[in-house]
Symmetry: C2
Subunit: 372 residues, 2 copies
């Protein structure tokens, strides 16, 4: 039984919603059984996009920022979840060491850290902040907009353990996604719980692996509910290294884009959706929204590649700000589109069907992670 | 460090409150460790009274009604707690059999049952209702005020299991406090989880045992916080069988009342509390508020006993309604006093120091359990 869209865009999602509501006990039981077989992430945020005819995750952040976006009503739930997690991992724990990102001037991000500390304090832990910033050699107070402050302390590493001066934690919680690589100070901590594990960081993780795993999950879930997995699963394809300035991988991008757009067109036809299909091109690693492109016609990629090939440094810099503008426009589209709560607004990724075409561009990771 | 009350009644509770807030991580960790050593009740409601200078539980219901009193905001927390409990007890569970009280005409109670069903359905279980009422021989719909209905079904007992027709549950949840004794159909269910266990019901349980255990807990907790346990612990004393009509146990009641009132007076003096001490006399078993008496002077008990001894049936009936009036007045006092949420408003018990003097009066158990 596949929901069938004929004219209205609101019809099928309502049908899907009803199906999900009706199947709630079965769905919750399914989660319960899956969680017996797999270890769920310690914490995570999922960026869900609702196109009306389709509702799918387009990004999963294993080092979620944005806890400051939680409403007051959500706080007790977050505390209860933190308690349950701590009870499983380290029930006798007194101390939690939280390691945030290094950008200490982003107050939005710091407010997120403050909220995380509050949640784990209320869950029954002494929480202190250790920094990976080696220029911070003594405890340093960072002022927050509300007049309070956060204290960042230098990490103290012994042979098998990581802590702060006079602070030995049972669990170390990373809120740093390791985009810059795995710091030596975090390696070989066999006596303590390091969460999430190092291989969850962007130094190792790849979005395409994630979407491949998600595809399997979506298939199972869709089977449980008797629906088309496409309705909850973003199609994707992967290219290897892509470099716009010398044209490496450009062919792969174009052929993958063309193939995906074709698949989407067929799905749209099947469901009677009168929309122009589009795909999103983004890097296979990293949480930053920079360098994300919306593509409705593979020719756009050819032009882009060509321009980069012939362009000089100034033109490229200009083009880059142009891309940034396109990204802004995209986000504004989303502001009108989104019907679903986005706990993690950091990523400017997007929309309906979204392929993951690896775009190698390490330079895209400099922006502030928590920029709205 | 004991908080010291000199004049104002609001001072010390604020100090106590501040101490509790400051010690939150230690308190939550203490709970976590206690829950590793002891099995917490599957569900419970605690009737907490706040006298301004003292904040103490006066009743703990192991078969809580009143889930319909939960606010909408509390519902997700209740669902999350139910999920965590089910995950521990019976993670593969599909079905939950809920056995409510028999009084099927009390819509307040039935709305509580409806809410319980909603919570466990959202937690991922198929929930159905089995009744202990043997006059219900076929599935019976009971109308609710909101236009919906509940279906009560006759229990089906096999050798080792309890269920309904075509419904085999992993867990059986009792919302029936077994005041009327343990029904045979619930005995020897060794293949399923019966929650709470039979010995938690009023057929076995005694309030005095509970308060004795609570006294130990209060001492430990007070030590953790460096405070006087009296501030969170109701003093109590126990008499054996008491029968007002033939005077059995009346001496015990009076001497215990006198001793307790003396102890309370000394505590009031220590804290500079200018209140007239009082105690509450109630039965050692059962959840009904009937027969609860406030006593400020042990002579009241002597008069009561004397009156009963000489009274005839008509006088006794009159006196009983008089007691009921006193109980009503008591509840009204509380309406002005209580500053703390009372999730369980069923019990008209009360106040500051509250002894548990067993009053044997099986006839007091007929009232509707969930009367407001």
């Amino acid at each position: 039984m596949v929901p069938h869209l004929v004219t209205a865009l609101t019809g099928p999602i309502n049908e899907l919603e009803q199906r999900i509501l009706d199947s709630m006990p079965a769905i919750e039981r399914w989660f319960r059984l899956e969680w017996m077989e797999h270890t769920p992430p310690f914490y995570t945020s999922v960026d869900v996009r609702n196109a009306g005819f389709k509702l799918a995750p387009v990004d999963t952040n294993l080092f979620p920022g944005g806890f400051n976006n939680l409403t007051e009503e959500m706080l007790p739930l977050a505390v209860q979840a933190a308690m349950a997690a701590i009870e499983k991992i380290c029930p006798e724990a007194k101390n939690l060491l939280l390691i945030p990102e290094k950008h200490t001037r982003n107050t939005f991000y710091l407010t997120n850290v403050q909220r995380l500390m509050q949640i784990f304090t209320q869950a029954g832990l002494n929480v202190r902040l250790g920094t990976l910033d080696e220029t911070i050699a003594a405890p340093t107070e960072i002022a927050l907009p509300d007049g309070s402050s956060l204290k960042l302390e230098p990490l103290v590493r012994t042979r098998g353990r990581l802590g702060l001066k006079d602070f030995d934690p049972c669990t170390i919680l990373l809120n740093n996604d390791l985009s810059a690589g795995i710091p030596k100070v975090l390696e070989n901590l066999h006596e303590q719980y390091l969460l999430p594990p190092l291989h969850a960081g962007w130094a190792v993780r790849r979005k395409t692996n994630h979407f491949q795993a998600y595809e399997e999950v979506a298939k199972k879930f869709a089977k449980l509910l008797g629906m088309d997995p496409w309705l909850i699963n973003p199609m994707f394809a992967r290219c290897g290294e892509v470099n716009f300035s010398d044209g490496t991988g450009a062919d792969c991008l174009m052929s993958n884009a063309e193939a995906l757009l074709g698949k989407i067109r067929r799905k749209y036809k099947e469901y009677g959706i009168n929309e122009k299909p589009f795909i999103i091109v983004k890097a296979d690693a990293g949480t930053y929204g920079m360098g994300i492109m919306t593509v409705r016609d593979p020719k756009e990629l050819a032009e882009l590649s060509l321009a980069h090939t012939v362009g000089n440094a100034v033109e490229n810099a200009y083009r880059r700000s142009d891309l940034f503008e396109r990204r802004r426009a995209l986000m504004q589209d989303w502001a009108a589109w989104c019907a679903v709560v986005q706990p993690d607004t950091e990523e400017a990724s997007a929309v309906g069907d979204e392929p993951e075409l690896e775009v190698a561009d390490a330079g895209e990771h400099d922006g502030a992670r928590s920029a709205p």
